[in-house]
Symmetry: C2
Subunit: 157 residues, 2 copies
DNA sequence: CGCATGCTTGGTACATTATTGCATTTGGTA
DNA sequence: TACCAAATGCAATAATGTACCAAGCATGCG
């Protein structure tokens, strides 16, 4: 289990370094939004982050949250995760790791790493697409939902 | 490579069987939408399907396309795929298989099956989440984009 | 074959999520 | 402190998805 405070500090440092390197202003908004995102182990949507930082950044606009998160993604500080619900989720952890999407509540949680998930990347040889990275998208029932109700029906292929 | 016509026929038969079994009306809309989706190897959004069936189903409403696709998903005839863009993509192939999302154009394409991608499903033992299935989400450059422009920069971990 | 029934459809309105344009403010630097 | 570039806030707009209800159609029965 990674240390939450250390991780957050690392991300804030990265943000700081990035702004320095590219001559971008290190605004309060960017700091607080990164802080909020890095503190979470779930993978919030832009609006969820907005709700979270609203009390901390009085008068912050939803647009800014969307824009800042997109900027983080563009600079590789944060990754955007797709889910079957039509919303973008954000993840401050850009290292290769895998996710579980709950079929009940739609929440996305991290799956602890396991060597069995290390698969070879398809090579770019030949004349096809080029693969750069991958993430495994598990589908199932999250711990919270599993113990909140009865077990789900067996998968019927 | 699966035979396109045969696959389409199978899906239409499945639709037919499902409606029979559940006493649901087999409407032209459902037939044409399934036909359109099963004919495609890419993974269109609801609106893309809507554009495609509009000429075939004069007067069809966007609502119906969304509703029918959701119904297919609910009955397990079709799966919904998430992408980092905030839109739902639909796939008539519900067997376990993997996808490539193009970082240039956002298109989602199938990745041919490979045994190396067969990973063990995390067991439900212990007191955690329960995993039912998985799909590998590859990230890279699709064949079309790769040969339309210069190669992408190397991944900087 | 024609009718009754229930589910589906079309259409509008609405909700949610995300993006754009522009005036103002702020962070960074000298 | 003052300047400048970039970010922010705000409002409007786009894109995507959902709810509601009257009208239509598929299915099954007489």
């Amino acid at each position: 289990m990674r240390d939450a405070n250390e991780f957050k500090k690392t991300k804030l440092d990265q943000l700081h370094a990035l702004c320095r390197a590219k001559g971008l202003p290190l605004t309060v908004q960017r700091t607080v939004i990164m802080d909020a995102l890095a503190a979470r182990t779930d993978h919030p949507t832009a609006d969820e982050i907005y709700e979270e930082v609203k009390p901390l950044l009085t008068g912050v606009s939803r647009t800014t949250v969307y824009r800042v998160l997109e900027a983080f993604v563009a600079h590789g500080l944060v990754q955007k995760i797709g889910s079957s619900a039509a919303k973008a989720h954000f993840d401050a952890d850009v290292a290769r790791h895998h996710h579980l999407e709950c079929i009940r509540c739609g929440a996305i949680s991290d799956i602890p790493h396991c060597e069995a998930y290390d698969i070879p990347l398809p090579s770019s040889e030949g004349n096809r697409h080029q693969v750069l990275d991958y993430a495994i998208h598990f589908r199932g029932v999250c711990a919270r939902c599993r113990f909140a109700g009865q077990d789900p029906p067996e998968e019927s292929a």
